[in-house]
């Protein structure tokens, strides 16, 4: 497909941001009048590079847009990307490298493991990290750090919002089961979804929901036959497919011959975005709901959204930007707004400005809670189905759920407690 984001585009983006990398040699010798340097920590090589390139694209676009409009406090922004290889040790090395070069404002990070590794080092290094993808609940709960912020959603609110969506749209589907990967995020996603089912079905439909034991598949499995056979014996009507990314592609590929997509009346997925449809083409499960960090189609007509989408398509030729593009873009906007508000770039100033900050982004206004540094933001879901076009699939619908309806009360330093799912 000619619309995919190729390595050449990626290299182009890197060249564009190369100046940032080179400028690091003149460490720390910058006056207040020089550019404001923002460090992007993202997987720019390895298996997760396919997502890192989206973060880099979104961040690059935001920096270019702000600079064209005159910068922040009369200073230009400069992007300094660093590769975390989606590995905790490389992530800490990247963050220390940035701090050592005098970059105290950082953002990005895809993997929660990397975020959890960097979080405890931030205070000692007098740096700020704005997360734009890592979704582990602990980051704004047990492992809360005063120097850590998250402008994207987290597992709990996304999965509960998904549960709210199915309770409102499919009141008749009251029996659910799941196939999940045996990972911490797999467990935490499913527990959060069940928590939402148990709250929203009684609240919205006055019906009790019945949840059957989930099937736990190996993470990174290549053979799902046993799991699928088990799944086909379940009497539930709704399926939560917690298996995500490349695993979901493998599983759905094998599921076609079992008629899995015909057996279940509703299938939902926590966050594979376009991956399943793009890989499955004409075999895309009809009616599949997928969680998105940001779905551009839901905000058509919003200036920030449209300009970001157009800039992304122009830069890469890809017509389907993943949500990571929008979230990395929003992280740069958060810094721009905070620096403007603070009147400077010192760590303490920026932290104060980010706390309680309301700023506009491609998916609407977000507010960063002062207490736990978690943003209250929209949650996006997209429904897919097969069609007769060349690509073989189409978006058949989308939903936006307000973050305030799904988020838990802030309890920084405390583990997240489920209100309804008492296991």
């Amino acid at each position: 497909m000619s619309t995919t984001f190729t390595r050449r585009h990626f290299t182009g983006l890197l060249a564009a941001s190369g100046a940032g990398a080179l400028s690091l040699s003149s460490k720390g010798a910058r006056a207040q009048s020089g550019p404001i340097r923002l460090g992007l920590i993202s997987p720019l090589s390895g298996s997760q590079e396919i997502i890192g390139r989206y973060q880099l694209a979104g961040a690059t676009i935001a920096v270019n847009q702000i600079n064209q409009a005159g910068g922040v406090l009369g200073r230009k922004l400069e992007l300094v990307p660093r590769d975390d290889k989606a590995a905790p040790a490389a992530g800490v090395a990247a963050s220390k490298d940035l701090v050592g070069a005098g970059v105290n404002l950082m953002f990005g990070v895809l993997s929660s493991g990397v975020a959890l590794a960097i979080a405890p080092t931030l205070q000692g290094d007098n740096a700020v990290l704005v997360l734009s993808a890592a979704s582990a609940n602990e980051l704004t709960h047990d492992q809360f750090s005063p120097n850590l912020f998250r402008i994207s959603d987290q597992a709990f609110m996304r999965q509960r919002a998904l549960a709210r969506l199915v309770a409102a749209d499919y009141p008749a589907i009251t029996t659910w089961t799941a196939i999940n990967p045996q990972t911490a995020i797999g467990t935490s996603n499913w527990d959060s979804f069940v928590d939402g089912l148990m709250q929203f079905y009684p609240e919205l439909t006055k019906k009790q929901v019945e949840v059957a034991e989930a099937i736990w598949a190996k993470f990174g499995a290549t053979d799902y036959k046993n799991d699928l056979t088990q799944l086909m014996r379940r009497s539930s009507e709704g399926l939560y497919c917690g298996v995500y990314g490349g695993d979901a592609v493998t599983m759905f590929g094998q599921a076609a011959s079992y008629g899995l997509t015909k057996k279940f009346k509703v299938i939902v997925d926590p966050g594979s975005e376009f991956i399943i449809a793009q890989a499955m083409g004409k075999n895309t499960p009809p009616g599949l709901w997928s969680g998105f960090h940001w779905y551009f189609g839901a905000y058509k007509g919003r200036k920030i959204n449209d300009e970001l989408y157009d800039a992304y398509v122009k830069q890469t030729g890809d017509k389907f930007p993943a949500g990571y593009v929008g979230e990395a873009h929003a992280a740069v906007l958060a810094y721009a707004a905070a620096i403007q508000k603070a009147g400077g770039t010192e760590t303490a100033q920026v932290i104060r400005a980010l706390e309680g900050l309301t700023f506009d982004t491609c998916k609407g206004e977000r507010t960063i809670r002062k207490e736990d540094h978690q943003a209250i933001c929209d949650l996006n879901f997209v429904q897919f189905g097969p069609d007769s076009s060349d690509q073989g699939w189409t978006v058949t619908g989308h939903k936006v759920i307000k973050g305030a309806d799904a988020i838990e009360p802030p309890t920084p330093g405390q583990p997240l407690k489920f209100q309804y799912n008492k296991k």
Partner: protein
């Protein structure tokens, strides 16, 4: 290895090692935080590399799963430090190493009897995959998300207590302990036991004929190497403050092999030099996103092809050419 005319004298090598340690200790004063963090990691990797070569270079054992002991040591320390915070941290570090040595002795007792060469290599690879899977599916160890919040301990020394969480204290602790561990490996290699090891490496059959219990000594080298590797893993946990299953991944096991090839398999300090060289390469190419692995790989390949004896081998040949002396066969 016997000192050859082409190699530096023992005194000079000791001086170089001390100079290297002094450079590590002086680093926080002259370099930024990014480099200090890398240096701490490299110090541990240098010792980790030395332990691998204690098996390979000394007794001819090839392990493809050495990282499993690094991981077991790391997770064991992290778990024990959380469960038993009243125990002296030095005891916990030592305990993690002893646990690894005990596991290696147990595994080696069976594995070394049945297999050698490539069979042993595959067995260790399988063992490391088991360790990897157990860690990544164990809820108590944090599964794929990792064991988080590993604290840098307070070190009571009787007359005073050093807070290793403060400033660069833990970095200095890593450098000093790494030097001690490297000293232990050096001592083993250069002791009578080390000479027996080398006899086995050169010709196990002849060694057995001379009355050396080959299996017992191999087991000993496996246990010592694994125990010391476990301590380096234990030290790494509080350094990174998180441990994820990737520390047990086979790619982590490949690292000491690369270090040894790069630095020079026939030299005691080869793996340490290799680890340092590898880190310099990685740091130098860190902004070449996407192609840094290709550049690193190409340079490694070039070094291995151009200098089969590794960096130290090349240095020795250079010295030989300058001094014009023949190296003893």
């Amino acid at each position: 290895m016997e000192p050859s005319p082409a190699q530096a004298s023992p005194l000079m090598r000791f001086g170089l090692a001390m100079l290297c340690m002094a450079a590590f200790l002086a680093l926080p004063g002259i370099a930024d935080k990014g480099i200090v963090f890398l240096a701490g990691t490299v110090a541990l990797q240098m010792v980790f590399g030395l332990t691998w070569n204690l098996m390979f270079g000394q007794t001819g054992l090839v392990s493809f799963g050495h990282a499993s002991f690094f991981a077991v040591g790391g997770y064991a320390y992290a778990y024990a430090a959380r469960a038993l915070p009243q125990v002296h941290p030095l005891l916990t570090f030592a305990g993690a190493g002893l646990l690894c040595a005990a596991i290696a002795a147990l595994v080696g007792l069976i594995a070394l009897r049945r297999s050698q060469g490539v069979y042993f290599a595959i067995l260790t690879l399988a063992l490391s995959q088991i360790v990897y899977l157990v860690i990544s599916s164990s809820a108590a160890l944090g599964r794929e998300d990792g064991f988080t919040g590993i604290r840098r301990p307070k070190l009571p020394l009787g007359w005073t207590t050093i807070d290793l969480a403060a400033g660069n204290a833990y970095y200095y602790f890593i450098v000093v302990v790494s030097a001690l561990l490297a000293g232990i490996v050096w001592w083993v290699t250069h002791s009578r036991v080390g000479r027996v090891f080398r006899a086995i490496q050169q010709d196990p059959e002849r060694a057995a004929f001379l009355g050396i219990p080959v299996q017992r000594y191999r087991l000993m080298s496996y246990a010592i190497a694994s125990g010391v590797a476990g301590v380096t893993g234990a030290l790494f946990g509080p350094w990174l403050q998180i441990l994820t299953p990737e520390v047990a991944h086979w790619t982590a096991s490949a690292r000491p092999i690369l270090y040894t090839l790069l630095g020079g398999v026939h030299f005691f300090w080869g793996p340490a030099v290799g680890a340092l060289g590898f880190a310099v390469l990685e740091y130098g190419t860190r902004t070449l996103h996407g192609i840094s692995e290709i550049v690193t790989g190409a340079i490694l390949l070039a070094v291995v092809l151009a200098a089969p004896g590794g960096i130290l081998g090349a240095v020795a040949r250079l010295r030989q050419r300058i001094t014009g002396k023949e190296r003893r066969p």
